[in-house]
Symmetry: D2
Subunit: 255 residues, 4 copies
């Protein structure tokens, strides 16, 4: 079998190196957010970059037991009391297009919008208007915009301010702000939600679009561990009683 290639880490009997850095040095001097940045970017972040990564991870870490990821983790923990990893994995599996995963699509949209602007010599505002108009015409959702609970997501403001104050805000954030303005004008007020803010900031930090989902997963797994721990500690197995309304074919006693 061909060896599996990797440029991420290597180890021998005595040492482990991540992207060339000795793990023991990282353990002494770096933070977990540094290491996440290092794993994905191949270098350690500056303090301002680290702050943004920490802020993103904290911002998405938990949103209560009713978020699909936490609810799935808890229901698995309710039926399966012997496998913490099964519950956490089920929570991760709920992170998809409709929950936590919109950042991926949003970051691809940002990239495509900026590419269009450059190629056709448009302003960001024009490129954003085009995308908003097209979403309206096709009755499609704009990824990273709107939220079922928050009218204005408090985490978006923090992320955008942190990026601005540190000089790290770039075209990603500018594009999302332009899109928010275009949506307000052409569709309806659709504030940038945390998925959109995360996508914009990670774009400006030079991450790959897939990182928008992956970084969300890292952050949310922290919350899932607390949710599962609480389920084990406070609740009995099989405690969930979901009300069900059957509207299928009537039972046939003779079938």
């Amino acid at each position: 079998m061909e060896p599996w290639r990797t440029a991420i880490s290597t180890s021998d009997e005595k040492s482990i190196f991540i992207r060339g850095f000795d793990v023991t040095s990282l353990m002494l001097q770096a933070t977990f957010a540094d290491t996440i940045y290092l794993l994905h970017q191949g270098r350690l972040p500056t303090p301002d970059e680290r702050r943004l990564v920490d802020a993103i991870l904290i911002g998405v870490s938990d949103h209560g037991p009713a978020a699909p990821s936490a609810a799935a983790a808890r229901i698995v923990a309710s039926g399966n009391r012997q496998s913490l990893e099964a519950a956490i994995a089920a929570g991760v599996l709920a992170i998809g297009d409709a929950h936590g995963g919109a950042g991926y699509e949003c970051m691809q949209m940002i990239g495509a919008g900026l590419e269009t602007a450059r190629r056709e010599n448009l302003s960001l505002e024009e490129a954003a208007s085009r995308i908003a108009a097209s979403a309206k015409a096709e009755k499609k959702r704009l990824p990273g915009m709107g939220h079922r609970v928050h009218t204005e997501d408090p985490r978006t403001r923090i992320l955008f301010n942190l990026a601005r104050d540190s000089g790290l805000a770039g075209n990603g954030i500018a594009f999302m702000k332009a899109l928010e303005e275009a949506a307000r004008r052409l569709i309806r007020p659709l504030p940038v939600n945390v998925d959109g803010a995360l996508a914009a900031v990670l774009y400006d930090l030079g991450f790959h679009p897939a990182a928008a989902k992956l970084i969300f997963i890292i952050g949310r797994v922290a919350g899932l561990t607390a949710q599962v721990m609480e389920e084990y500690a406070r609740e009995k197995p099989m405690r969930v009683r979901i009300p069900v309304a059957y509207d299928g074919p009537p039972p046939h006693p003779n079938k």
Copy 2:
């Protein structure tokens, strides 16, 4: 349906609070390791406690593509190119008793050993010797000790030194050192591995035994995201060719 109880986080239209702390304040001032500690302990850590949590998370974050968690994630990514979350979840599922999960059992062993010592008025050394002798007699592995690659796990030394230097080392670490000594005497040299070190430190920090597995999962998920990203970026779908030797019943052409 009864509401689901939680003491972890709450949110309204404008704010999200984790253990009573406004998420936006945390995003501005705390680190991700702080938030993980907060989620599990209900308060923010001291700088020394934060350093230990960061060191643990970094220490277990990645161990190359051949670790079962990374290998499972990559093989899933190899067959399934449309679901990053499926690959990460598969990686999490490999974290069990034999890989990454030994810390859970180790922390329970530490708790039981210290309880025995207190109840029967034994020294830590005596309690540890008893456990080592019993493992030898029953031919059972001591959880958190020995490693298939490292003769001395470099991460153990760092964690124990950090704990000692900050005055946070307690009975958990003392017990594991006593057990290492007892194993050397009664069985064979079995250095405390990173699972054992993590368990000892988390015990001294007051975490629940289940946290030994859960904190490992949080740390390793960071590495898994990089492994999956690399699999998508560098490798073709279905690229893995595992050699197989069939030794079952011979094919029956007429069956």
Copy 3:
């Protein structure tokens, strides 16, 4: 890398063989239940054995959307609309000790009970009484007995009757009936539930205890596919609204 050994199946460019049987022959002449039996037992079942395997698989195939496995699958589908396999996998992960997995433990208990009876020359009734008494003393649940909904599980009667009528009922079923009687006398009426019936029948068919969980999983995956399909077809993403009661530390506006 060492080749992976297997005695299950082999294939070349032209053919696939399962336990020595040409897959194309099986496709023409066998049933899926035959193939499941073949995969686990290495030979095709008799018609009576096949009927029991079919009956077990059908009996556990679905129990509505509120069972933890179905609920987890649906919640994952609610947040993740792009990965059918993620939803099915989450449903599988909920199959644990408290839901669907009791058959495993039950089959181990049957084996241990019968071993004790043989070794100590006890009747099945005596061995069963001992286990019931010990469960009562230790306040432990008897695996495979009792149900949160059904006072008498209709599937148990069918499985036991099918086994009796075909002459396949053996010590496994006899033991579970003796245990039911002992529980009624020593604890309270605890009818054998479908997990217990499945364990008893699979024991008498010569399956490994782990098969009690694995066969349950195969059967339930059928129902999960219908549950997930219905979730996609009838429900919007993110439709689940779980009521939450927060009872944690009060929000600190200045934190």
Copy 4:
């Protein structure tokens, strides 16, 4: 909370009904393949329909330990010896676009091709040629065609013959045959593989495109249970040694 609607099954204290059929009657008279058909179609199959469903499930049930689904399940079992469901779930997660999931896309392609033919009044051959030409121009793979091992998938022939002999072959199979012919002419010989055959047959049986993946999952889970059982029985934990070639940044001793 709103009750969860379902038309699949209902139960009370005494009975369980699947699509209106009493589970105990099904257990006595139906097969597992019948029940799978019933769950998805709302009625029991005819004998010919049942044969096709059985043939599909058997055909995809196992393909050795090196298939990504089996390899992922085994690697998880290698690291995690306490959770059979974790291993099976990991196997399910590997069933994606590149492995086992092509049937979904293929069935959508069949539907789109037949729709084009009807709308533009084309023959099946013309519609298929158009799709083959477009795949060639865009350098895209045709889903359900070609195989990395089999030059001619033996399972395809069986499925198509069974469908033809029972009069159940319809436009789905006709379209895939036309596409095979078009690919031979315009691209290169690309025989219909088992995913494509399964998609064509399920199309002709009136299943939803998503069923192509879901039915594959049901079938393959049977094989995964045997693979995981064999891993537990024959192999030690952590036995997999994957060779790794590191080609990342050189270790920095002083970092």
